[in-house]
Amino acid sequence: MKEELVQRLAELAPKVEGFIYPNEVEIHWSILIVVYPYVTGLVAGAFILASLVKVFKVKELQPTYRLSLLTALSFLLIATLPLLLHLGRPERCFEIFLTPNPTSAMAMFGFVYAWYLMAVLLLEIWFEYRPDMIRMSQTKPFPWNWLYRALSLFSSDVSERARAFDAKALKAITVIGIPSAFLLHGYVGFIFGSVKANPWWSSVLMPIVFLFSAIVSGIAMVMLLYMIITPLRGKPIEIACVDRVASYLFYAVIVDFSLEALDFIHRLYESEESIGILSTMVTSRLFVSLLVMQVLLGMVVPLGIMVVIKLSKMNDELRKLLYFTAAILIQMGIFSTRWNIVIGGQLFSKSFLGLTAYKMEIMGIEGLLTALVLLALPFVILVVLLKLLPAWPGDEAASSAPPPPPVSDAGPAPAIAPAV
């Protein structure tokens, strides 16, 4: 383990430009820490989309409501894994609950996560699906009826009054959920934004930029999933729904873009001590991932696409195709954003006199394959969740048979799993 690391660092050493402190050759937060804010961002964003239906009563979005909730849950369930796998001593992770340091932003992670999972997401999904679960516990064959009975926590009341209470509870949870989603992801932004030693991270805007990029990525992800799953169900895509989602996406991207531009201009204008090394980094090490992938392909092009769609009258098919393209580009763009923040923040020396390099491992625990498995896992979970808890009324007939093993992303996962 140590020899391997030393060899890797020795290979990196010649790539160092200028002067860096000797301990800075090693990039400590790897691709897994890029995955983590990307995933929690998707959770928060998907939840915000769901809340538009419940709190702001946007009717056109109804077809995406349950899908948003299940998407958020699928990603939230794996959100801890990249962190856990990254720890030097993962077996001590529980210390963060037992002896949390009150001055540490990171120490709050467990509590924020648990709050969001238990008090918001699971509760909202439970209330939303309670009548369905009760119905399925009565109609499904053994052993599924027992599963649903257990999932519904053995409740059986589907009277008017009970359902009215469900609706009320849902609304209350969503109202609490919006600030909680903001907290979940704003907090991740704070972890980076509060590091005063690092001028690339240290910015009061960081939590807000994180939040809006989260909303962007979450909305785009649900839109993608809706456009992929609906044809697979043999149903037509409701273009009014997609239009509406895209419209929210458009405004979210504009806000996100403006915030990032503000941050960028502010840094350039203030031109503090670190500006030299940061400029060098952006135009050399981060040129492709920041200027090309994040800004051009991940923001400017999708924005252009959506402006074109808004201005011209094109037929539904072409519109869907363009929306789909824009949403994929946006996903890539937001992933690049996370990459540029996490990896970029470690590429320059805190002496501001040089740059180090990051060479991603392929096979190791902190390698590319692990990251890909972690990114594929939520989709596997989502397939299972959608089988268990149908997101669209009328799909239950199709899912009355026991769920088959998930197909889409399950292929590579088991093969790689041992490496994890």
């Binding site: 383990m1 140590k2 690391l5 030393v6 660092l9 020795a10 050493a13 200028g18 002067f19 860096i20 402190y21 000797p22 301990n23 800075e24 050759v25 090693e26 400590h28 937060w29 962190l83 990254h86 720890l87 030097g88 001593r89 993962p90 001590r92 992770c93 210390e95 963060i96 002896t99 949390p100 340091n101 001055t103 540490s104 932003a105 990171m106 120490a107 992670f109 972890i191 590091v195 005063k196 030693a197 690092n198 923040g345 470690q346 020396s349 805190k350 002496s351 501001f352 006199l353």
Partner: protein, 260 residues
């Protein structure tokens, strides 16, 4: 093994005192302080009352010859991996060229070949700067540690409890001085301890002891007449990155403005 036990007890003690303080208010715990060691701490070996020390170090920049013996002694004394990517202390060689551009190199072992990086006639000025953990009074690493594994002792020394550290590396990110690394053997954060195991027995840190030019002066900031205090009285003192409000306890005399 003794050191490990010691650190463990330190961590436990801190935890208990913190809890007690939380319950009964600050100060109540201080009374239960076990009588500290007879730590002299100063180069002169003066001793003080148990626990009544505040350790610091001064660097006489102009005396450093960049021999790297401090680095070697530190690595040997503290079991730091020999490779140049893991350092509790190191020396930086600064060369300001006649066109005012800067060339900096690290010296991470003794006897490291350190030819002048630029032609002699291009050199405006050149000097060595030893670096180590600054044992800040407001340490950002301690602030961010999620489990309280890194902490300031009452003598002002910032240390890591390797039995508690989870290896999240947030402290490494938070340190403005690059003074921390992840120990590839323990997979926990590691850093300079001012040779806590030595200074609490009245000895000097290893780097101070081996320095052939006495460029490093270790001592008690609370003591009345330590060499460190004398040094602070006689010389113009500067600390690294004062703008970050970390309040280092490593003081540099004759520090050049280009040093980061």
């Amino acid at each position: 093994m003794q050191r490990r036990d010691f650190l463990k007890e330190c961590g436990l003690f801190l935890l208990v005192t913190k809890a007690v303080e939380g319950l009964f208010g600050a100060g109540a715990a201080a009374a239960e302080e076990p009588a500290g060691t007879k730590a002299g701490g100063g180069s002169g070996g003066e001793s003080g009352n148990g626990g009544d020390h505040l350790y610091g170090m001064a660097i006489d920049v102009d005396k450093c010859i960049g021999c790297g013996r401090c680095v070697e002694a530190c690595k040997t004394e503290n079991g730091v991996p020999k490779e140049p990517f893991f350092c509790r202390t190191w020396v930086e060689r600064y060369t300001v060229k006649t066109d005012n551009t800067l060339v900096v190199q690290s010296i991470t072992s003794a006897g490291q070949k350190s030819d002048a990086p630029v032609e002699e006639k291009e050199i405006k000025r050149s000097f060595f700067v030893p670096k180590l953990c600054n044992h800040c009074a407001h340490p950002p690493c301690v602030q961010v540690c999620p489990v309280g594994a890194t902490f300031s002792t009452k003598e002002g020394v910032v240390i890591v409890d390797e039995e508690r550290c989870i290896g999240c590396r947030y402290c490494i990110q938070a340190c403005p001085y690059g003074a921390r690394y992840l120990n590839p053997e323990t997979h926990t954060a590691d850093k300079c301890t001012f040779c806590y195991h030595r200074v609490t027995k009245g000895m000097l840190p290893a780097c101070v002891e081996v320095c052939p030019t006495q460029a490093r002066i270790f001592g008690d900031l609370k003591g009345k007449a330590s060499p460190l205090q004398r040094f602070e009285r006689m010389r113009k003192i500067h600390t690294l990155k004062p703008g970050l409000n970390t309040e280092p306890k490593v003081f540099y005399a004759d520090l050049d403005g280009v040093v980061r």
